[in-house]
Structure formats: C-alpha cells, structure tokens
C-alpha cells in the first residue's frame, strides 16, 4: 500500500473510519528529521499489508496538529477504530515503529 497523504478534510474518512490500524506521521517539509524519516515511512508503506500508512503535513493542516497536541515533529500516532492507541515523539528507528504496530 502506498502512503496516503491526509488533510483536515480527509482525516475523518481516511483515519477515523478506517478499518484496522492506521499509522500517522505528523511531519513538515522544513523539518530535516521528518524528511529523513520519509524513506522509512515509504518502506513501511510498501511493506505493510495490514496497516494503513498516512502522512499529515502540520503546516497545511494546523487544526489536526493542534487537536492532537503535536508539539514536536516527527510525531507518529497509531489509530485504531477512530481512537489513538499509541504515540511516539521524535525520530524512531524502524524496528521501534514496527513494535508500536504490534
């Protein structure tokens, strides 16, 4: 599955109403570590079959960043059944992200 880019408008349908687990990467184009995390998120997007992998640009979608109290990016949030079930702040190694999704 390719990585899905989420906006304020599509969040409800793509994340809250999605079936199974959804990994959301809060990022911004000016944030070096976020951009460097990009290849890892892309790798996860193409490797994982049971998790939907999404990205939210916090600059373009400030409402979502504020709603989920994202202060530091990258922040990764796992949603399941419309609820936040796990969160990690800052750069995470790929195995740690996989562990979050177990």
């Amino acid at each position: 599955m390719a990585v899905v880019h989420i906006t304020n408008e599509t969040f409800e349908k793509e994340v809250m109403q999605a079936e199974g687990k959804v990994l959301v990467d809060f990022w911004a184009s000016w944030c070096g570590p976020c951009r460097m995390l990009g290849p890892v998120i892309d790798q996860l997007g193409s490797e994982l079959t049971d998790v939907k992998v999404c990205k939210i640009d916090v600059d373009a979608n400030q409402d979502l960043a504020a709603k989920y109290k994202v202060e530091t990016i990258p922040t990764l949030v796992v949603f399941e059944g419309g609820k936040e079930v796990k969160r990690s702040v800052g750069v995470q190694p790929k195995p740690a992200i996989l562990a979050m999704l177990k």
Binding site: W30, R35, T72, K94
Partner: protein, 309 residues
C-alpha cells in the same frame, strides 16, 4: 541460502556523511554495499540549519545535504537496512555483523561509521520531557515555540547555531553556557550578539529540569558566584556535544579511553578488514569534510583489501 547468509562485499555500519560517502565510493568501485542504520540515514548533519563550510556549497541546509548524499548512494546501488548492530565477529576470510532484528549479516569487509550521538545533560526529567519542552534539535522543534521563551545550553557551534535559529521566532532566547568564552565560531557569536532578544547566561550550569506534565522551568547555578536562579522557559535545547557509540565493537577493535576507534591514517582498525570512518574514530577535527574524507579513505582501503582476499 537464507537471506542473512548472502555475503555483502562492503557492509557499512552507520549511514551518516562518512558511511554514505563510503557507500558511494565502494559502489562505484563495483562492490555490493549494504548500509546498516539504527535510526535514520543522514547522521548528525541533518540537525544543522545551514552548512556553510562544505567545499562547493556556499550554503545548504543540513538535511538537504544529507538527503542528496543518501539519494546518491542509493542510486549507485547501495542498499539500506534499518537495524541496530549489536556485535561484530571476525571469521578470518569474512566478518559477521550481529543485528538486533535481522540476525547476522556477513561481509568481506566492514566499515564502522557509527559517528557520535548527542550528549544528554543527565538530569532528572530530561528523558521524560523529550517532546514536551526538552529538545536536542532547534531546527526541528524551534518553530513550535514561536513567541515563547526558550533556552539553549552549550557553547559550541551547534549551540550558537541553535540560539540564532531560535532568535528569529522565539520571544526570548537564553543561552546558558558553563564558561564565559565560546568554542563556537566567532562569526556565529557576532551574529548572535546583534539580536536583542538573546540573553547570555555565562559561567552557569543547568542544575534542574522542572515541571509536572511538561517543562516549566530550569534551575540555573552561576559557577563563579554560586548564585542560583529559576528560569521560566517553555523549551530547552541541549547542545553540549556528543559521545561515541562503539561499545559493540570493543572486543574486536581497539578503542581509546573515550570510546573512539583507533585507526591508522588509512582508516584501518586493529582488525584486518575492519575500517572506521567519521566522528567515531580517534581524530582531531570532526567536520563534514573530514567525515567525507574518511568515508573515501575507508571505502578504497576496504576495496583494496577485498581485491587481495
């Protein structure tokens, strides 16, 4: 053969500037190259707001430099594996690299380009408040504290650069430094002194990180007068240097008293077929240019070694 038994020519531990440069050189020499990176490709330079001392680039953002170098290495055919290296074995004709999740990876030659990681203050609450006011990267997190009061700890280039980046967006920037002289570049310091919202707190150290849910204030002690104060800030950016990360290799390659890998001038370690490149080896200057130079030396030495096997 299972996947882990496939032999790579050159296995590089760490995908920072040294490791990625080594990957470019080894791949261009026709070797198969595997990079093993425990965090993110790019290394420390991704935290630098601007790089203005790499030949050929008047100014380039650190992550843009890293991104371009990474893309270059991948385009040349290098493969990246995200895993943590936990040990190293010498089997004579080849080496074994133990990883936390991917088992043992085999290679004809190994380049240790593990670099260094940020040094924490080592205070209570420091870990707990990462992402809640404690940060090691002003370029990454500074914008979240727009019009707020923030502090930077340190006196080197990273600290001065952090304070400068923050001075454009934050209300007040307190620069806390244990000495009254700076090891960072004079040019950066002068730029910083032009900003009215930067307050220098010199000869001082941070003694406490306070808060209940998130960072609320710092305890500061003046080392000369002994005077203590509490500084209300929304964020603290810690930039007090780096420490090497070579414990996993200590049984095989010789380290110095500080944990840096000893090498000869061609980046060869005490173990034949294992090389060290970049900030993680014993050397005087640790810069982007020297990391790239080390990567070059180590890769070509490793290629020569493999050709003579």
């Amino acid at each position: 053969m299972t996947e882990k038994q496939i032999m790579t020519d050159v296995l590089i531990v760490g995908a920072g500037t040294a490791g990625l440069t080594a990957a470019v050189y080894a791949a261009r020499a026709g070797k198969s190259v595997k990079l093993v990176e425990q965090y993110l490709q790019g290394g420390q330079i991704i935290n630098a707001s601007h790089v203005e001392n790499f030949p050929g680039f008047e100014s380039i953002a650190g992550f843009e430099f890293a991104e371009a170098l990474y893309n270059q290495a991948i385009k040349m055919g290098a493969e990246i594996v995200y895993d943590k290296v936990t040990g190293l074995q010498d089997y004579g004709s080849h080496k074994g690299v133990q990883t936390e999740y991917g088992g043992e990876l085999l290679a004809k030659a190994v380049i240790l380009a593990t670099g260094a990681r940020v040094r924490p203050l080592g205070l209570e609450n420091e870990d707990r408040f990462i992402g809640s006011g404690v940060s090691y990267c002003a370029t990454c997190d500074g914008a979240f504290f727009k019009d707020k009061n923030v502090a930077v700890v340190g006196g080197g280039n990273t600290a001065l650069d952090d304070a400068l980046v923050l001075s454009f967006t934050s209300k007040k920037v307190y620069l806390i430094h244990r000495s009254d002289t700076f090891s960072g570049e004079k040019r950066l310091l002068e730029k910083l002194q032009e900003h009215d919202n930067v307050v220098f707190i010199l000869d001082s150290e941070v003694t406490a990180i306070n808060g209940s849910e998130r960072l609320e204030s710092l305890g500061i002690r003046n080392k000369v007068s002994g005077e203590e104060q509490t500084l209300d800030v929304d964020a603290v950016f810690i930039a007090i240097g780096h420490v090497p990360d070579n414990k996993a290799f200590a049984s095989l390659v010789e380290l110095d008293a500080y944990g840096y890998i000893k090498t000869d001038e061609n980046c060869a370690t005490s173990c034949p077929g294992i090389y060290a490149a970049g900030d993680g080896r014993v050397k005087k200057v640790r810069q982007l240019t020297t990391a790239a130079a080390d990567g070059t030396e180590a890769a070509l030495a490793a290629c020569d070694y493999i050709d003579l096997l």
